[in-house]
């Protein structure tokens, strides 16, 4: 085809050209159906008009005919490769698809043919920010400013672009020029105030502290900066950096503004040369804090800080803590234990608190036992109650890295005692549930939580707790019914609503529950849903790249960008990524897991029925959605969400690229969670199976640098040594580096006899149950002798060993996986060790017990007793 014919095809005669203009404006005004008609009218005469084909394609993608639409757009581009409209359309579709890189490429193409198109430039800038391509961003913003210097936001946009690109001098210059050009700004203009605060921020970051300070002072005095909190905070920070004598007063002003902000006290003390993180230095804070406590008697920070700083031996500590605790218990502050438990890393302080609380209990005992008339006015029955509540928490809590042995039995006694006085306080049931959970009675715990919930059916906090504990007890369906009392009634299921509302708590807990009850497909589905939420949140920033510049909220915008860059360090993501990756690894090691899940033979009739029903419901919900969506399709450009064709996660778990997916999940964590040993272990597990030996051994090195004796690392080192023997077909340099690196982790001499190596490890950690279990697992892989494994596993019941429920359960499942004869013996021993526990019961027994967890409720999960306790949420 020659160029001439192309050109001929592209130019439309007058009438059609008019129609095309109409088509564009119909799209702009979201008149999709009308637009489609117009497009077809043009195409009837000119079926190969590229731009019209693209516009038609674009319209179709918004009308639920995605594939067809995209095909048309591609066809359109082929007919008219030099049209900016064609490329723009393609870019729009890719952008809507969150495919930012491809979209930017299309926009760049489009700009080649229409370099001064404002819309194209603005969209490109947003894409460049999203992709963090700051060099290009500066260029684009420059271009925009040249084209539209009258638009104020173009100035700050360029400054921000320079700033992001690390060029503070230019950023400063641009902002200064902009501020200089401003005229007739009304008083109390919030936009100007924010811009000035941004300017101060640039000055501060570029090291011009006194410049920043004088700008801040002049502009806040003239009331151009109106955000007083920001002024006070920035001022204190600047004066401190300048080591100015005024710094102390500036922190005091900030404390006066809000006496409950810990950071202000920290700032003040740091300026006085006191570091709260250094115990000797911290003591010097006491006189300052005393003064603050006097000035702000209602603020808790000054007193609470003293409790942390003062040594237990100081009589002042006892006096202060007595008042602090007594006041809270009299008032009935439920969080007082959560507040004070941080002091317990000092066991002497723990002891003092215990004595004081027991005293308060004694003193107030009379209030409950004697008749009101005789009671001392100071003594309150509620004080007695909250003291019991406090002490019960005290006895069942184990401060981290201490050897405190929890006394769940005593704790339960206290709670039950409190309950016999006041059976209507939900907090008491919550606590009872928590103690039972710690003792391993997950069913009793769920039952207690449910009782709390029934006491106040309108309270979602109680509902969430009860649901969470049901999940912990493996009762997924019952939990879903409870959650459903507060989720939207038109959602496909309570879980769908919670997923839409981005509840990480729910997804992670339900995922864990599915994992425990042998449904790794659904567990994986939930973990990947968490990942998707983080993808969404990353996408969420997109619109703000334009929005904040228009609103001039620049400092908070920069905070947003940094936050987004470190988003995946969130414990929810880390947790989900590791757990999903573990499942992918398990499936890769044992593909029979997938096979067992996909054959329906093992399903009971009831399960089959439930599955059918769920499928039907899903289809119906989808249809309902469609019907509501088509009605407003003309107004909204949002295409309906694609239907989930894998509600059970069976396709997901059978993915052939599971390990690649796992590697992608973990990848951001190498930078964002490098202190988390589980991250490195997971990275190793994936890498070794993808035959990335150097990455695998490198990950173990990172793990070893965090904790060389970690039980999970021990397992992997032996495993890697064994695997190492099988990697014979490696290229020589890789092989030698791999051997060398592995040697550093586990010396050749030791690996002559891995059995010995394992025995030594066991000896070194003979009192740590997790290490014993690791040694048992290693023994399993080395000799495969069931007897060896059993002999090691039973060490966990040794008198000097600290055993926790989780480890005991893993040990049991190890025995079960070996079809050990001694598994029932283990169950019995564990039961003896964990008195209240229901976790070691045989599965059949547990099933029977499930029935009693929600005994107070009727079958449909609603409380049977009173109407009033049922929340009427829709």
């Amino acid at each position: 085809m020659s160029r001439a014919t192309l050109a001929k095809k592209n130019a439309l005669p007058l009438k059609e050209a008019g129609l095309f203009k109409e088509l564009l404006s119909q799209y702009e005004n979201r008149l999709l159906k009308k637009g489609l008609k117009t497009a077809e009218q043009i195409l009837k005469k000119f079926p190969e008009h590229g731009e019209t084909l693209c516009m038609k394609g674009l319209l179709l993608t918004h009308m639920g005919r995605r594939e067809e639409g995209i095909d048309l757009v591609k066809k359109g581009i082929r007919f008219d490769l030099t049209s900016h409209i064609c490329w723009h359309v393609f870019g729009l579709i890719q952008k809507a698809d969150k495919n930012y890189e491809e979209a930017l490429r299309s926009y760049t193409q489009a700009l080649r043919f229409d370099s001064e198109n404002i819309n194209l430039l603005r969209d490109s800038a947003q894409l460049q920010t999203q992709l963090r391509l700051f060099d290009n961003l500066v260029e684009t913003r420059h271009h925009l400013l040249r084209l539209r210097p009258n638009l104020r936001q173009n100035w700050v946009a360029l400054a921000v672009a320079y700033h992001l690109n690390g060029n503070l001098d230019e950023a400063k210059r641009v902002i200064e020029q902009y501020l200089y050009s401003l005229k007739n700004v009304p008083n109390y203009d919030v936009e100007l105030s924010e811009t000035l605060l941004y300017y101060v921020n640039i000055l501060e970051q570029s090291g011009d502290l006194s410049g920043a300070l004088s700008e801040l002072d002049t502009k806040s005095k003239s009331r151009a900066i109106v955000d007083r909190t920001a002024v006070l905070t920035t001022r204190a920070r600047l004066l401190t950096k300048l080591a100015s004598p005024e710094a102390g007063d500036s922190w005091k002003a900030l404390i006066d503004h809000n006496p409950d902000n810990l950071e202000s006290y920290r700032g003040y003390l740091a300026d006085q040369g006191v570091s709260l993180d250094d115990p000797t230095s911290a003591l010097e804070a006491i006189p300052h804090l005393k003064a603050f406590a006097k000035t702000y008697p209602k603020a808790s920070v000054p007193v609470r800080l003293q409790l942390t700083i003062l040594p237990a031996s100081d009589p002042e500590f006892s006096t202060l803590i007595t008042n602090y605790l007594e006041r809270a218990l009299k008032k009935g502050v439920p969080s007082i234990f959560a507040d004070l438990k941080a002091l317990y890393s000092d066991l002497e302080k723990r002891k003092i608190v215990e004595t004081i609380a027991e005293n308060i209990k004694q003193q107030n005992f009379a209030a409950v036992e004697e008749k009101p008339s005789k009671v001392d006015e100071q003594k309150e029955p509620t004080t007695y109650l909250w003291t019991l509540y406090f002490l019960a928490q005290h006895y069942s809590y184990v401060p981290p890295s201490t050897t405190v042995v929890p006394n769940h039995k005593l704790a339960l006694e206290y709670v039950n005692n409190a309950l016999s006085h006041t059976p209507t306080l939900p907090e008491l049931y919550l606590l009872k549930g928590r103690i039972l959970k710690r003792g391993g009675d997950f069913l009793g715990a769920a039952s207690a939580m449910n009782e709390a919930r029934i006491l106040d059916g309108q309270d979602r906090f109680l509902n969430t707790k009860a649901g969470k504990y049901l999940l912990r007890a493996g009762m997924v369906e019952e939990a879903s019914r409870l959650f459903g009392m507060f989720t939207k009634k038109d959602a496909e299921s309570p879980g769908h609503d919670l997923e839409d509302m981005q509840s990480l708590l729910f997804l992670l807990e339900e995922g864990d529950a599915f994992k425990r009850v042998g449904k790794p497909n659904l567990a994986l589905k939930r973990y990947m849903a968490v990942k998707k939420i983080f993808d969404t949140i990353e996408d969420d920033q997109f619109d703000f790249h334009g929005y904040n510049l228009r609103k001039f909220t620049l400092n908070v915008y920069l905070t947003l960008l940094t936050w987004e860059d470190t988003l995946r360090s969130h414990p929810g993501y880390v947790n989900a990524a590791i757990k999903a990756s573990n499942i992918f690894v398990e499936v890769s090691d044992d593909p029979s897991i997938v096979k067992a899940l996909t054959t329906t033979d093992h399903l009971s009739d009831a399960e089959k029925k439930a599955r059918k029903k769920a499928k039907k419901a899903a289809v119906k919900a989808q249809e309902d959605k469609k019907s509501t969506q088509t009605s407003n399709a003309d107004k909204e450009l949002e295409a309906p969400p694609p239907k989930d064709d894998d509600p059970e996660g069976l396709k997901l778990i059978a993915s052939t690229d599971g390990l690649e997916q796992a590697a992608k999940l973990l990848q951001p964590l190498t930078k964002l969670a490098p202190k988390n040993i589980d991250v490195w272990l997971a990275i190793h597990d994936v890498a070794i199976r993808r035959k990335k030996l150097l990455q695998a051994v490198g990950a173990l090195h990172k793990a070893a640098s965090l904790d060389a004796e970690h039980p999970e690392l021990h397992i992997r080192l032996v495993d890697l040594k064994q695997r190492g023997k099988t990697f014979s077909d490696l290229p020589a340099p890789v092989n030698s580096t791999f051997t060398e690196e592995l040697e550093k982790l586990i010396p050749e001499a030791a690996s002559q006899s891995l059995e010995n190596y394992n025995a030594q490890y066991l000896q070194r950690h003979s009192a740590e149950s997790r290490c014993i279990l690791a040694a048992a697992k290693v023994a399993k892989s080395l000799s495969g002798s069931v007897q060896d494994v059993e002999n090691i596993v039973f060490n966990v019941f040794g008198p000097e060993v600290s055993l926790d429920i989780k480890t005991a359960l893993s040990a049991l499942s190890l025995l079960v996986s070996l079809s050990s004869q001694r598994k029932d013996e283990f169950r019995a021993a564990a039961q003896k060790h964990f008195e209240f526990s229901t976790a070691f019961k045989a599965p059949s027994e547990l099933e029977e017990m499930h029935k009693y967890v929600l005994a107070e409720s009727t079958a449909d999960g609603k409380p049977a007793s009173a109407e009033s306790t049922t929340p009427e949420k829709k």
């Binding site: 955000d227 941080a342 969430t464």
Partner: protein, 152 residues
């Protein structure tokens, strides 16, 4: 995200993160959180500013509290009260808001008590069937100008 998690655990009215971001990016100065010693968010207030439309001469700039909540386990510390006061102060000093408004479930006696008795809000009107489940809302208001101008 902490605000969002706190909201999901406590209240029936929930929003996707985008909604929270939108408020913080538009009015970064008037929302506040309460944290425990570990920095976990245990309470928050999310607020916005309403500017009157051009043709409505009667209306004034005012603040609106979208959502305020404190975890049940952190009650009786006066956190909601403090959060609300901080938000109100920022609304007045930065945006010169005439008044602060909020919606509350008619049945939520504890919250109404806080707003009316501790903070001085008054019921401006009843909005029938405001909530998703059909429950009525009290639309409550606190005059911010008066409070700072005359009483203090």
């Amino acid at each position: 995200m902490g605000m969002q998690a706190c909201n999901l655990q406590n209240l029936p009215e929930n929003y996707a993160l985008r909604f929270w971001l939108y408020h913080l990016m538009t009015w970064p100065q008037i929302s506040f959180v309460a944290e425990d010693a570990k920095g976990q968010i245990v309470g928050y207030v999310l607020a916005k500013i309403e500017h009157p439309s051009e043709d409505d001469k009667e209306a004034h700039v005012h603040g609106h509290v979208n959502s305020i909540s404190v975890l049940r386990s952190y009650r009786r510390l006066g956190l909601a009260n403090k959060l609300m006061l901080l938000a109100q102060e920022a609304m007045t000093s930065i945006y010169h808001a005439e008044y602060c408004s909020l919606h509350v479930r008619r049945s939520n006696r504890a919250a109404i008590g806080l707003y009316r008795d501790s903070l001085g809000f008054e019921v401006a009107k009843v909005e029938k069937g405001y909530y998703g489940d059909g429950e009525d809302a009290f639309s409550m208001r606190l005059n911010l100008q008066n409070k700072n101008g005359f009483i203090n």
